[in-house]
């Protein structure tokens, strides 16, 4: 049986802090490419939190979609428009 251990609690604390800081940091960047990468990092923290919440299939899906697909679409958008935010 897969049992819950106290290490999940530590993981959950670290990941919750990481998610909140990552979300705020991603929206405050001037360089849009860095904003896309930080949102990818925040998606990985969310994938760890899904595993701590006992949904490992969602952790795998969120890890792939949040790091490859969604930042990929945003990077295509940045490539066709402009890289930095205007004043």
């Amino acid at each position: 049986m897969i049992e819950l251990s106290a290490s999940f609690m530590v993981v959950a604390y670290i990941m919750v802090v990481g998610i909140t800081i990552g979300a705020i940091a991603a929206l405050l960047q001037k360089d849009l490419l860095r904003a896309a990468f930080i949102s990818g990092a925040e998606s990985i923290a969310l994938a760890f939190l899904f595993q701590a919440l006992l949904a490992p299939d969602l952790g795998l899906t969120q890890a792939i979609v949040g790091t490859v697909l969604l930042p990929g679409i945003i990077i295509v958008g940045i490539f066709k428009t402009r890289r930095t935010e205007e004043e």
């Binding site: 998610i19 979300a23 929206l27 006992l54 428009t81």
Partner: protein, 124 residues
Amino acid sequence: MIEVTIQLLSFFAAAALVIIGITGMLFLDNLIKKIIAFILLSDGVNLMLVAVGYVEGGIVSILLPGMSPSEFASKAILVFPVGIVLTNIVISVSTTAVLVALVIMLYRRYGTLKSSKVLKEERR
């Protein structure tokens, strides 16, 4: 004293993500950042859905051999929110793709990504 569990922490994180996402979508100026805020909003909604289904001291919802169905039903986490979240992930990828396509078309026509210039109402 309220006991701090993983479920409570997840609800706080989900609320924070939803608030950051909604504020970003409404008040940020750059169109690409509005799309990144939408991604954060749907991440928050997914986290909230999974946290609703969490069972304290439970097991992953896999029926292993040797487990009786009633023991499985009482200890496993709820499976329906997992289905909703998978659907939500697909929907958010599609919506992001449509939004980025529209932003690219508008950039080609107007030359700027500032929403105050692009999304202004035209005089008719």
